[in-house]
């Protein structure tokens, strides 16, 4: 199948001031787009030519994995941001977070710390294991928790390209801003589908 850059549910200037329009122009318009283009070129004539994105993430390696997982990861990230985001989750997800981490504040602190301490490029994930228990994972580069048998629920990009134009070396500032944008409705739906 031909993979496509998904349309975003917001304009590129709408996440200001937490994430600048310029950052999104490059992050979505160049990086995300390049992963899509590279993936489509790389799968031609391979066993993955007709595969869905999740199958590619699950079974491929090398360049196909790197580009396929980066398409998956960026879509998963961008689709869960919103100009009206922020605040706290409700319902079953809120209960599960409290049960696992003690409180929403404790979860936020642990997730933020994972983001601040991931060395190099990568992603921080809130995932559910096969018993639907929540946990936080750090994955390097294009890493995706599907390959560990986990179901991803929330992700934060900590590649430098996600924030360097806005906050430079101050990754913790970007992480703080990220919480203003999380669209908990989308995250709740992902959790409810488990």
């Amino acid at each position: 199948m031909i993979h496509e850059l998904p349309e975003l549910p917001y304009a590129l200037n709408e996440l200001e001031p937490s994430i600048s329009q310029k950052t999104l122009e490059f992050h979505y318009g160049k990086h995300h787009q390049a992963y899509v283009t590279n993936l489509n070129n790389l799968i031609k004539g391979t066993a993955f030519e007709k595969a869905g994105l999740e199958e590619i993430v699950r079974h491929s390696e090398g360049g196909i994995f790197n580009n396929g997982a980066q398409v998956y990861n960026h879509t998963f990230y961008f689709m869960a941001l919103s100009p009206n985001g922020g605040g706290e989750p409700k319902g079953a997800l809120a209960n599960a977070i409290t049960e696992t981490f003690g409180s929403f504040a404790a979860f936020k602190e642990e997730f933020s710390k994972a983001g601040a301490t991931l060395f190099g490029s990568g992603w921080v994930w809130l995932v559910a294991d096969s018993h639907n228990k929540l946990r936080i994972m750090k994955k390097n580069n294009a890493g995706n928790p599907i390959t560990d048998g986990m179901t991803p629920i929330l992700t934060m990009d900590v590649w430098e390209h996600a924030y360097y134009l806005d906050t430079q070396n101050a990754r913790p500032k970007y992480i703080e801003n990220f919480w203003n944008l999380v669209n908990w409705k989308v995250i709740e739906e992902r959790y409810d589908e488990l």
Binding site: F26, K30, H31, A34, N66, F119, G120, S121, G122, N140, N141, A142, W159, E160, H161, Y164, L165, Q168, N169
Partner: protein, 200 residues
């Protein structure tokens, strides 16, 4: 003995227009300073506190990951600043040029191989020109802040030229266009310094 952030051998704006002032300032005063401070914190009170950085890196597989990451970051950036110069660029000469031509066929094919190693390093890392223990020159690349002095490196030897391809090294000026940054690097390489490291 605590490690100190080395001073740059030139001003922050000296590598303009190839590498911009703001990038140099943040790269040195924030990133490199961060690695230096974190390295000192990671070795404080341990039995490697008095060792040279080269010794620490040579036995890095026995150390905590914080020593690997920050010790690598401390050493790599120091080398990086020194192998660049506002009067850099061009080609090496003498025995270094002869060795490059012998091991890569020509300076241009070396340049191509090194640039490709830098462009294709996925995520954060470095490209290196390495002098191996038998004297042969090879190009390699390492992830994150690893380097060829580390006992766990795939290609081991003495790094004589290094290029930082973490996004923080080029994002303010070049954004997603890493290949443009790599092209500019060739205009600032201090071949005298690289030759000195080759001969040592």
């Amino acid at each position: 003995m605590a490690f100190e952030l080395p001073k740059l051998p030139y001003a922050y704006d000296a590598l303009e227009p190839h590498i911009d002032t703001r990038t140099m300032e943040i790269h040195h005063s924030k990133h490199h300073a961060g690695y230096t401070n974190n390295l000192n914190a990671a070795i404080a009170g341990t039995d490697i506190e008095e060792q040279s950085i080269e010794n620490i890196l040579a036995n890095i597989s026995k150390q905590a990951v914080a020593v690997r990451n920050n010790g690598g970051g401390f050493f790599n950036h120091d080398l990086f600043w020194q192998v660049m110069s506002p009067k850099g660029g061009g080609k090496p000469s003498g025995s270094l040029l002869a060795a490059i031509e012998k091991d890569f066929g020509s300076f241009d094919s070396f340049k191509e191989e090194f640039s490709k190693a830098a462009a294709t390093r996925f995520g954060s890392g470095w490209a290196w020109l390495v002098k191996q223990s038998n004297g042969k020159l090879v190009v390699s690349s390492t992830p994150n802040q690893d380097n060829p002095l580390m006992d766990l490196a795939e290609v081991k030897g003495t790094p004589i030229l290094g290029l930082d391809v973490w996004e923080h090294a080029y994002y303010l000026k070049f954004q997603n266009k890493r290949p443009d940054y790599i092209s500019e690097f060739w205009n600032v390489i201090n071949w005298e310094e690289v030759a000195k490291r080759f001969q040592d």
